[in-house]
Symmetry: C2
Subunit: 421 residues, 2 copies
């Protein structure tokens, strides 16, 4: 019988505090989804025998796959193995081959294995031991009369490769023939409800088709994401259906779409600049260096990022970027002529091909009735294109205004460079 | 009987996907901890009647307070009210006063309330209705024979003010006399194990004292955090104990500590600059604008941030910042003389009081045996102080190298400006 449903239980009191989140579950649910296994519940329990046993008992009754992370260390706090053995009523035995592996691991660092680590070699009867090349805690895989339990260590760098191997082997053998194929579309410059209105007729039709496509629409800061998935036994057919839905969506969403392969905006901009052999420089006021920081988050960006100037002060806009002082006096620092002069100035001073100028009011202070908080002017100059300048009114707190401004500026660079001859 | 234990259940299928995490639980657990109510389990369930009922039934049996978030909207997917009524075996009735409030809310935007919104006025018998000034979904508070259930809407801007009011009223009345008092110490420039070694003798002594203090040590990117808490019925005594532990810890941790009130590094630096009436400017290479962006994340930073220059290219280091070309030729772009020249240059060009220069290799490419990835040189000039310059070797990926570099630079600014006469 195919595995269809799952629960993830993260074990560890530290994950219940006000400053930590379990993120392993994101990785695990994504891999499970690839097999068409639906995550029904996820939970976090502390290092408490009663809480964990209660949680596990209910999970084993209700789902096909239970994935537990954490609690596999050598100390008394590490209860996962014990509680699993108790709930499944499987006696534990020590596996001397695991003891030897742990002993060897310590030996390679010229250390003697502490006796307490023998606990990590305790195995419930019938469990398959999963090697851990990145740590001492081995994992366990138990097929309990058709219900599968997977016990993984908590640290992501130990958990992920171990779970990958389980997915490629033990779990693949037990999952059905169906797989879930997915793709995503990232776009900016359109609101969520507008995207919904354009996309809804398309995904309503595909939802009811022979290969049902499900769609999720997510509004994130400065962008909207469409996530599409289809459940299919035949890979070629699954991918073909996704291609066709995507093509229809791209036709209505147009050049608002900046990525269909998960790349971030700053990566897409970097790729179009590199493809055309162009360099970029930016003059920033209200975004305070965030645009440059995003561009330089991309590995290899030194190939196309020339330089940037952050000028908060009007005198610096003149001295560093070359904006004429009388332009600022006449129109104000937050104005279209000044934004254009910033883009022109940074291009002239650095010799970069593409110049960006951003000036605005990030808030919370500094707004006026004529120039309220969130008002941001963006100018872009690119080879062979008319200068672009536009005044935006962004909503949200300071960080949101900064981010949305850089997103709009990067998107404009993407469009202008993509279209440039 | 005092409330001691809690479970949080977040309801919503979208929270089970691979790209979303429930963050409401962090806020809720922090507020609960203030009453000495310990979070035992947290879980996420989809919009499924059976899964939610099973989860809720177990929670009601095992803890004193169950907080549910989400699933209070008007559609068929919104099951929280129904399932709570079913599990507690309390019949639902419609509360016409809620209908009127929702109708009025729509009316204020000149809209007619859709009939489906009547669902939001369904209330299990005995429940106290919680107003929602930020949305249509009212919350509910149910005292079920000593077990408390709190139903809150999912969006944080609706959930937080509603839960604050519950904490200040209904929950405070039922919590015991004990409260948990907390403080935190943020420091940088020392590794976690080094901090542990210095702090451990102090918190071992306080852990076993009359007012037991518990301590958590967390290593975050570029900093170590110590979180202290004490459970007390007497507020003055609780705060006094925390003051004394903090004073002992500060004595051994010295000026590595940059914040004891939760302020971030960029806020602390802003505050010391403001207090002394000084301005700052930065010349960045490998951090690519991140230092300026962090400084300008702080509201009001235009009072002390002058300007910044990002120069990836060596020619721009000379043209924009005034670094002598032969310095770069002789020592290389990543060198102490160049970092100092960058700090000097930006100070000279902008007239800022404090100048920062950062040059290094963020990776993953660009490293050599002599100058490996993660090597970063930081220089700071401040009034009345000798120039500071130091070469660091940071570990981690590109984003980590960038962040740690800005953290070390900001910390040096903090120390030099604090000590400046």
């Amino acid at each position: 019988m195919a595995l269809r449903t799952a629960e993830i239980i993260a074990v560890g009191s530290e994950l219940l505090g006000p400053s930590r989140l379990d993120t392993n579950s994101l990785y695990i649910s994504e891999r499970l989804a690839g097999f068409g296994i639906e995550l029904r519940v996820k939970s976090v329990v502390g290092d408490d025998r009663g809480d964990l046993a209660a949680r596990l008992r209910q999970a084993v009754e209700r789902v096909d796959v239970v994935v537990l992370t954490g609690g596999l260390g050598p100390t008394d706090d590490d209860l996962t193995r014990d509680v699993v053995a108790e709930v499944l009523e499987r006696p534990m035995t020590i596996d001397e081959s695991i003891v030897e592996q742990i002993r060897a691991r310590f030996g390679r660092r010229s250390l003697t294995m502490p006796e307490v680590n023998r606990r990590q070699a305790m195995v419930p009867r019938g469990a398959i031991v999963l090697d851990n090349p990145n740590g001492t805690a081995p994992g366990l895989f138990i097929d309990h009369g058709g219900t599968v339990l997977v016990l993984l260590p908590g640290p992501p760098r130990e958990m992920q490769p171990m779970f990958d191997r389980v997915c490629d082997g033990l779990l693949r053998d037990r999952a059905g023939d169906e797989r879930v194929y997915r793709t995503s579309i990232f776009l900016t410059g359109l609101g969520e409800s507008h995207v919904e209105q354009l996309a809804q007729p398309i995904y309503a039709r595909w939802r009811d088709g022979a290969s049902a496509v499900s769609t999720t629409i997510l509004a994130a800061m400065g962008q909207v994401e469409l996530h599409l998935s289809v459940r299919e036994t035949d890979e070629a057919r699954g991918l073909d259906v996704l291609d066709r839905v995507r093509a229809e969506l791209l036709a209505v969403l147009g050049d608002h779409v900046y990525s269909t392969d998960g790349r971030l905006m700053e990566e897409v901009v970097g790729d179009v600049l590199k493809a055309r052999g162009l360099t970029i420089a930016a003059a920033e006021s209200c975004t305070g260096g965030l645009l440059m920081s995003r561009l330089t988050d991309v590995a290899g960006s030194s190939a196309y990022v020339r330089a940037g100037i952050v000028a908060y002060d009007n005198a610096d806009k003149t001295a560093l970027i070359g904006v004429a002082a009388d332009l600022i006096t006449r129109y104000g620092a937050v104005s279209e002529p000044v934004a254009v002069a910033m883009a022109e100035g940074i291009r002239a001073r650095t010799g970069a091909d593409v110049g960006v100028g951003i000036t605005g009011i990030a808030g919370p202070g500094g707004g006026t009735p004529e120039k309220p908080v969130g008002m941001v002017v963006i100018a872009v100059m690119a080879p062979g294109r008319d200068a672009y300048v536009r005044t935006f009114n962004f909503l949200g707190a300071r960080a949101q205004v900064k981010f949305q401004s850089t997103q709009a500026a990067l998107d404009r660079v993407r469009r202008m460079v993509t279209d440039s001859r």
